[in-house]
């Protein structure tokens, strides 16, 4: 099981709990139940503590995430520049509400309350790449490109 490998990498120390969970999340795109139980067992921690950490940080997810993560900033600066409309456009194009994942596990749409780069707002992060000065017109292109990439991968 690769969870064990990750835990070994950190020497099975409790203080690396978050790092371990981050790696699991990276690998599986979510934290499976078995993985959490295994982590708790290996680190000798109560499961409820591991679960508490996993639910505390929004970087962790207990349900599978999409292959492409789209995060729309709805912070104050981005909001006044119309991020609401951009979010709505994404919701329409992708077909899910903010905070949800599409059924084919292609997209996860999230919102965030400021990314610290308000100057280039409205900001949308697609698979860790920052897209500044977003417009509703560019949404289609972004979504299509992600879909293309998925198709190329599949073929």
């Amino acid at each position: 099981m690769d969870v064990d490998k990750i835990i070994d990498k950190y020497g099975g120390k409790r203080r690396y709990l978050i790092a371990i969970l981050q790696d699991v999340q990276e690998e599986e795109r979510y934290l499976p139940k078995e993985a959490l139980c295994r982590v708790a067992e290996r680190l000798g921690m109560p499961l409820v503590d591991v679960f508490g950490v996993a639910t505390f940080y929004s970087a962790f997810s207990l349900v599978p995430r999409g292959r492409h993560e789209v995060t729309v900033c709805v912070g104050t600066a981005c909001h006044v520049r119309g991020s609401r409309r951009i979010l709505e456009e994404f919701e329409r194009r992708i077909g899910v509400r903010a905070g949800c994942t599409t059924e084919d596990l292609e997209f996860t749409l999230e919102t965030v309350n400021c990314l610290g780069c308000c100057a280039i707002g409205p900001v949308v992060v697609v698979d860790k790449a920052y897209n500044g000065e977003m417009t509703t017109g560019r949404v289609k292109g972004i979504v299509d490109r992600c879909r293309e990439a998925a198709k190329v991968e599949a073929s």
Binding site: P46, G52, T55
Partner: protein
Amino acid sequence: MITLKINGIDVAVEKGTTLLEAAKFYGINLPTLCHDDGLTPYGACRLCVVEIGTGDRTQLVSACTYPAEQGLVVRTHSRRVTDVRRMMIEMYLATCPSSKTIQDLASKWGVSRCRFEVKHEDCVLCGLCVRMCAQQMDGRAIGFVGRGKNRRITTPFDEKSDVCRLCGGCMYICPACQSRCQGPQERSPICNACVACEPPCLVPWDDMKCYMDPCVWCEQETKRKLLAESKVQE
């Protein structure tokens, strides 16, 4: 030994004593919601606030977590403290009006209004059950989950826990579990029935649940009934 002043009295306590313990030792009662003698201090409910310092430079701290310091001046029932305390109680009333503990606190502290939207939660997140489970029962079956307004207490994955032995310690210690007096005001966010009626009760009431001993609403009810009857007879 550390010497300090609580409400004008010079007191001496062991090093490491908290202000709450010191106050209790000298017979000063502070209201608490998240504190239990057998559990580690937590400082969540803020009902035990006290004012420390003198002059303009006073500060509000939670007595259950603040260690006694040499020469500290503490006031446990100053105007500022009671105002804050009553505000806290008011907020607790809005959170969880069905709890006897909270209704009792409200009656005791004369909180007779609730200006917040009533939420009817069944948990005030005092964390007593979590600490009870971990520290006294060695269970570690429940814990805090989530963050911010989604924070709640539950078992991992909301499933029946393997480590829970159904000891019931969590329910025993919960301040929100015991439901309030089913008196005349059972629907309103504030009961206050036991303090709001006069004259005082003369009839012993079996189901009395108010913090006041004895409860008074029963007598008022009987009186009202008698009055109504006598009116009908006339």
